[in-house]
Symmetry: C2
Subunit: 334 residues, 2 copies
């Protein structure tokens, strides 16, 4: 089944980090002895640290750059980075102004990032944390703290990076990043599974004509298994659930991000984006920006997610700040 172009499965992440560093040695630096990367020149500012399991590339390592993350702790495939990795990355990136951890809400990541924060506390480095928990399909509203982080990571890292570039304090950067996390909402659909490097079998099985709404990016169970349907109908169904959850009203403004999970083509994603735009217009919700890409993947999984970031003037200004990393670039000109 799987024809992964790899060497030994146990070396996948370290070799990928090596290949990534070869391509980005002018702007990034490898942190010694761990799978961690920081920016070469970090201004005198709050350091934004992200990370998580590999297998979702270009997240997270592709988002280290200007106006984004200052450092990334890279875990093995679908596994949290170790506390030691996170600690070393944070120490290397810290400029004495404190560190903000921004990452997706998964038990293993929370455990290890929290442990790293404790270790850093002993070294008198201030650490705050903002968890991204944008996936509205992963838990109901009354258990919001159980929601997982998916493509909304992109929005929250973007806002955190922009706030820190402005020279804001750790408290202020944390406040606005938490606001972004609270106002980022996503929902996804899976059409086919991806395979972890080294495994023979896919993470889950879907019938030939079957899709699963709300499935997580590691194959976590979704909210509804159903028959394949036309793109517009599928987009409409997802948007209905999403808008119900995020309580965005006519006249309000959003940034939109349509994310491919791996093997779903840009041609398909653009067709989804067309319908998303039409639906938002019908509802009188203003679209400030739309991005269509595959930033948060699950190997060659098929499917996509739709993310909305509800904007106020403060978030809009930060969203609009320049950002530039190997796999993300934003420079809105109005």
């Amino acid at each position: 089944m799987s024809k992964k172009i790899i060497n030994k499965p146990e070396n996948v992440v370290s070799e990928a980090v090596e290949g990534f560093m070869l391509a980005n040695k002018n702007s990034l630096v490898k942190v010694e002895d761990v799978n961690g990367i920081i920016r070469k020149d970090i201004d005198d500012k709050v350091a934004i640290i992200t990370g998580g399991g590999s297998g979702h590339e270009p997240l997270f390592m592709g988002f280290v750059g200007e106006g984004l993350a200052d450092g990334v702790a890279v875990g093995n495939v679908f596994a949290a980075p170790t506390p030691n990795t996170i600690q070393e990355v944070a120490k290397a990136a810290d400029q004495g102004k404190g560190v903000l951890f921004v990452y997706g809400n998964y038990a293993g990541d929370v455990l290890n990032f929290d442990m790293a924060a404790e270790l850093l506390d002993f070294e008198d480095i201030n650490v705050n944390t903002v968890l991204v928990a944008d996936d509205v399909a992963s838990a109901p509203e009354d258990r919001k703290e159980d929601r997982r982080g998916i493509a909304g990571d992109v929005f929250v890292i973007k806002i955190a990076g922009a706030a820190s570039e402005k020279g804001w304090s750790l408290e202020e950067v944390t406040r606005v990043t938490q606001k972004a996390a609270d106002q980022a909402f996503s929902i996804g659909v899976a059409t086919s599974p991806g395979i972890i490097p080294g495994e023979k079998e896919p993470a889950f099985v879907l019938g030939d004509d079957e899709i699963e709404l709300g499935m997580g990016i590691h194959g976590e169970p979704g909210i509804k298994r159903t028959k394949m349907m036309p793109s517009d109908q599928l987009t409409e169904e997802l948007m209905e659930t999403l808008l119900k959850e995020c309580k965005i009203n006519a006249g309000e403004e959003v940034a939109v991000y349509v994310n491919g999970l791996g093997s779903t083509t840009l041609l398909e994603l653009l067709i989804v984006n067309r319908k998303v735009g039409q639906l938002l217009e019908e509802k009188g919700i203003k679209v400030y920006d739309m991005d269509v890409n595959s930033y948060c993947t699950t190997q060659e999984m098929g499917g996509f997610s739709i993310s909305l970031l509800k904007l106020d003037e403060e978030l809009k200004d930060l969203y609009n700040s320049p950002a530039h990393s190997p796999y993300y670039s934003k420079n809105i000109k109005e």
Copy 2:
């Protein structure tokens, strides 16, 4: 087999163009009545026009932007854009300084772009053409004119856009773009097929443990069908053929681009890039820049290609000029 997230197959391209325009209306403009797109603000300069069949996204439409193409003519999936589409896009982009067509060397595209050039000649618009024919596996060196264009398109569009931004004449832009095309070399490998939207069967069949070196991006026959092998060994075999063809010697300088064909993950591509970098270093070939992405895809085809652009001082300066489009961004700081 196929679970494309589309509506009617015959509307795939026009709906994708619509979704693309919704996401990029601040910087791009749709050309009326055809599947064509131009930049909103084109300086008083030579207009760079690219295009080709759809199905390879983000090429070509994702490469309209600053320092890249000024307009794109979008064909149906795997089909050349019509002469009328090309003509309308060129007319909309022309600033009176002439037009350069830059596109991949395929019979259908050549026929239609040439016809458009003739039609534009009647309207007193000067048109030059540079064909990209970087795929060294598609024909031997003594039939270089038969070689197909693949991921090397990215290099050649980049150089053409940079030269035109500098305000050079049509003749000068053509000269340096042709030089880039002459010095761009690629080779690919296919591990699994993609499926055209609306079709039930893939474009070709490969055994469970089989790959094909040199296969084209529409499934054109390659140079060798072989067993799956470890990434390093595969990369070494491809690089050996590539370097033999492009006659790049120790001490010379190149830009490298590792391109995924669709469902091959960035994790895998980065591992390939690691080996490419190691091999070039062993041979004493200097690496000016490396880019790892999936700019030139074939739906969800598996596999990748390696492209080299041999640089001299003139090309290096142009390669290093700022470029920014919805799916490509380059801003090297040394």
